[in-house]
Symmetry: C2
Subunit: 162 residues, 2 copies
Amino acid sequence: MLIRDATADDWPAVWPFFHRIVAAGETYPYALDMSAEQGREVWMPPPPDRTTVAIDDEGLIVGSAKMNANRQGNGDHVASASYMVDPDRHARGVGRALCEDSLRWARARGFLSMEFNAVVETNVHAVKLYESLGFRITGTQPRAFRHPAEGLVGLHCMHVDL
Amino acid sequence: MLIRDATADDWPAVWPFFHRIVAAGETYPYALDMSAEQGREVWMPPPPDRTTVAIDDEGLIVGSAKMNANRQGNGDHVASASYMVDPDRHARGVGRALCEDSLRWARARGFLSMEFNAVVETNVHAVKLYESLGFRITGTQPRAFRHPAEGLVGLHCMHVDL
């Protein structure tokens, strides 16, 4: 598994699984019908934000991460990140590798902590992964997400010091 | 106290106290050095978002609120709002009137709840006001805000059902 900075040329390989995950509407509060161009704007912001891709042993892009300051001004010492893993490649350590890399980036950039603002509480796999990397749930906004199968579920805020 | 929808013509009256509050850096994680044009983009987004102004008995604009869906897609049933009150006009019910109006708007628009993502914990006046209107703190992101006098302080998430 290789994690490297994404380039504009990577988007056509990221979009198919990004779109599949967004359209499923189970894990991110993004517009379900976003276009490839809107997706690119969301997922590949200009520096100092950063986007990475995960490359498997066959050279295929199997996941991607986006990382950035979570807020501006007097909140810009806290990082945030989002992760997308090709649903066909889950449970192969892709998410963990992307998350670990983003934590290294945030630490190297001098961020004091990393926060997630909206982790869907039914996304148990992600919550467990983040907790295994030191994150803890600091609170849950109740019924803040309409899961297509589970109905109204909460969105966790999570935090780790760097 | 009159609360009405803001128009583009209102921005020159809002900007002086908006700028003063943002530049003080005590209550919002906004870029401290934002220009009037950047401020207008942040504070006066196009519909369906909404911006209001509070007008006092002398016809002066003494506060403003911005309200919007807090997230997109399967999170767009939750509203959020932000409030700015002219520091010279505090404690005259301006903030309460703006907040009550935004809750009425959110209820009428069919939002199921309102959430705040980042209430600076040292902004005790605001926290008490929100709690008096039914909000409760659902969690606190620790040390997520650099208060110019208090140092690293937390950011509360707050929630009320509508």
